[in-house]
């Protein structure tokens, strides 16, 4: 086991790079990023980030190597992932699975047919060693290390994450999934994900995350960069169910070339504070971006989520559908940006944010920014805030359904458009999460 003591300084950044035996350029990049992190202020907008950064563990390696056979994985950890349902999903439904435990990968495997198609699916550290050319070409190009304070932090201390390269003209029939798990108190997890879907190819990637509940805060600050090449399509599905002591501050961005499509499907159920606004830069003509999100803010939770769509190419289209649920005193807010640039003629953007507030203690705000810089394009925006409709509740209850169950049905109905985007297995899991079934603790 390799663990850094709490807190962060330049020496520790250097140590992480040394542990990993990285090339010189990466160590330099990390150190430069650390300086940016140290000099940048916390975001001046959005929820207060009241985290003691000195109290966080920035690197912890528990297992020596990444296994490709569950039989070689620590017995208790294996049992945890069996309970979570990941192993069943792997057998029945997925094309490949990667698991990260604390700072490093734990398990990684994919179907032979994908290897035969030259698909690369690795943890990001291994990818840096095995595929340095592609890595250097794309890494940090979309989310630069000066983008925001937490992107700078990630760039300094990143560890693990997923690297996917899908070669041209390659369709994956089944999704690839990564699973991120934090088990230690005060842990910081800083995975770095880099996905390239080359021309005419198609990828569905699923990301899941959980952590057990501790009284002390943990930090998850990930960076995700996605390159969707000409006529390619990438769908990125997240079901985030961090425990409610995790600050979840994630920068997710995709750049889409001509005729390409990027689809974000983003479910935020857990965490203490989430700030996450998946972005599409629609660079190529006729490129498309969609973002379908739900956020559930329960007691003591703040979900500050949304999406960004930047239209640069002509005839580009984007669609944002955001569904927020606030209950038990939680705060679920939408924050979004749609920008149609001067060049992006004949483009169209649609934004729809619906919020349902279940009691008087809970709240929700909407912060939309819509900018359209040419006359041939348009942005449509619609926002609704509602409560559970007592008439609908009565109708359901008049058929013998209890108030709680009826409310649950109405909430499921409210997020139906999101559930429809999920693979069936995950829709079932989501139902359970929304019913408040507790997350599974690690047996280790």
């Amino acid at each position: 086991m390799k663990t850094l003591s709490k807190g962060l300084d330049k020496e520790k950044v250097r140590k992480i790079s040394k542990f990993k035996n990285e090339p010189e350029w990466m160590m330099k990049y990390r150190l430069e990023s650390y300086d940016l992190f140290a000099s940048k202020k916390m975001p001046e907008w959005g929820p207060e980030i009241d985290i003691k950064l000195d109290n966080i563990t920035y690197y912890k390696k528990v297992f020596d190597k990444i296994e490709n056979n569950w039989d070689n994985v620590d017995k208790d950890v294996k049992a945890t992932f069996t309970d979570i349902g990941l192993r069943k999903a792997e057998e029945e439904y997925l094309a490949g699975v990667h698991v990260q435990y604390e700072s490093e990968g734990l398990y990684s495997n994919m179907l032979k047919e994908l290897r035969d198609k030259n698909v690369i699916f690795l943890d990001t550290d291994t990818a840096l060693k095995k595929h340095p050319e592609i890595f250097k070409k794309y890494f940090g190009k979309l989310v630069k290390n000066d983008d925001n304070k937490f992107a700078a932090l990630n760039s300094a201390v990143w560890s693990g994450g997923t690297f996917i390269y899908v070669p041209p003209h390659t369709k994956l029939d089944r999704p690839l999934q990564s699973y991120f798990r934090i088990d230690s108190k005060n842990m910081g997890q800083f995975e770095r994900t880099l996905i390239i879907v080359d021309e005419d190819s198609d990828l569905h990637y699923i990301e899941g995350c959980t952590a057990p509940t501790y009284s002390d805060d943990a930090l998850h600050a990930a960076v995700v960069e996605i390159f969707v090449e000409k006529n390619a399509r990438c769908r990125y599905t997240t079901i985030q169910n961090w425990s409610n002591n995790v600050y979840n501050l994630v920068t997710k961005r995709a750049i889409v070339e001509e005729g390409g499509t990027m689809e974000w499907v983003d479910g935020n159920i857990g965490s203490k504070v989430t700030m996450k606004y998946p972005a599409c830069i629609l660079k190529g003509d006729y490129s498309k971006g969609t973002c379908t999100t739900i956020a559930l803010a329960d007691s003591m939770q703040i979900q500050d989520t949304g999406a960004k769509m930047i239209h640069i190419g002509k005839h580009t289209k984007s669609n944002i559908l955001s569904k927020s649920i606030a209950r038990g005193g939680g705060n679920a807010s939408y924050r979004g940006l749609v920008k149609i640039t001067k060049n992006a003629a004949h483009s169209y953007a649609n934004v729809k944010c619906d919020t349902i507030i279940l009691d008087d203690k809970s709240k929700s705000d909407t912060f939309p920014t819509n900018i359209c810089k040419n006359n041939e394009s348009s942005i449509e925006h619609e926002a609704t805030v509602s409560k559970i409709d007592p008439k609908q509740l009565f109708y359901l209850m008049s058929r013998g359904i209890s108030e709680d169950k009826a409310t649950e049905l109405l909430i499921m109905g409210f997020i139906d458009a999101f559930r429809e985007e999920l693979p069936l297995e995950y829709a079932v899991e989501l139902n359970q999460l929304l019913k408040g079934e507790t997350s599974i603790e690690c047996k280790r």
Partner: protein
């Protein structure tokens, strides 16, 4: 058996029923008629514990027990069913999820999927409802008549013992009305002890479903009780009371 005793209710500070009395024995079919806004739907809502309808005094007794302290869902689980005048649309909740949840709530155990689908298929066929309807959101995009049929579908699926039908015949075309009538008759045939409380403005449905009693509701009370003949007279003459009373005196109906 349902007994309503001296029931006074109010909605939005307006007294709607005033010392209202009605007893419906097992197996009986009762009809309530009355001018618009007189409180017919309010009666059904208060029996179903709609929170806007407040009981000021009196009692509602079902099978020997007061149900005033029971919530809407508890009353439904006792076998009381209301087919509403204006069935609601609920986006995102499919008819089949809804029905499965309702049946498992009433039976207090999980539904056997196979027997559920079989029963649903039969009910759909009986009502000549298209297959895909059950996978759509509750009443979403249903025509007025389709919504009414959907209420009957729910009744057939949930097996209630006391059924209130609030204007189930309005907005329903001639063929659909016959289908609804046949289904009500068959349901009664299969479940001898069930009783109906039918609210209507016309006699169309009553030609299929023969009532035992027809009541006229006015000023918060039943002002007259008769048989099917009374319904016909109302359809011919309206609620012009003198005419009803005079014809009643010559007819066989008993007036209050």
């Amino acid at each position: 058996m349902l007994e309503i005793k001296d029931l006074t209710i109010k909605v939005e500070n307006k007294i709607v029923l005033n010392k209202f009395n009605l007893t419906i024995n097992d197996g009986e079919i009762h009809v309530i008629m009355g001018p618009n806004g007189v409180g017919k739907s309010s009666l059904t809502k208060v029996i179903m514990a709609e929170p806007n309808y407040k009981v000021i005094s009196g009692d509602i007794i079902y099978n020997g027990e007061s149900i005033l302290n029971l919530s809407t869902d508890e009353r439904a689980r006792k076998g009381i069913f209301l087919a509403m005048q204006n069935p609601l649309e609920i986006d995102g909740v499919t008819n089949s999820d809804f029905l499965r949840t309702a049946i498992s709530s009433i039976n207090q155990k999980n539904v056997n999927l196979y027997s559920f689908i079989k029963k649903l298929d039969e009910a759909k066929a009986d009502l000549k409802m298209p297959d895909e309807m059950v996978h759509r959101s509750i009443n979403k995009g249903f025509s007025g008549g389709e919504k009414k049929k959907n209420e009957i579908l729910q009744m057939k699926m949930l097996n209630p013992s006391f059924v209130m039908l609030d204007e189930i015949d309005s907005g329903v075309d001639v063929d659909a009305l016959k289908i609804v009538g046949d289904n009500l008759n068959n349901y009664k045939k299969e479940n001898k002890d069930i009783s109906y409380l039918i609210i209507t403005h016309y006699t169309h449905l009553l030609r299929y479903v023969k009532p035992d009693f027809v009541h006229v509701l006015k000023e918060g009370k039943v002002v007259k009780t008769g048989s099917y003949e009374l319904a016909k007279q109302i359809e011919d003459n309206g609620f012009n009371f003198d005419k009803i009373v005079s014809s009643a005196n010559t007819g066989s109906d008993q007036s209050e």
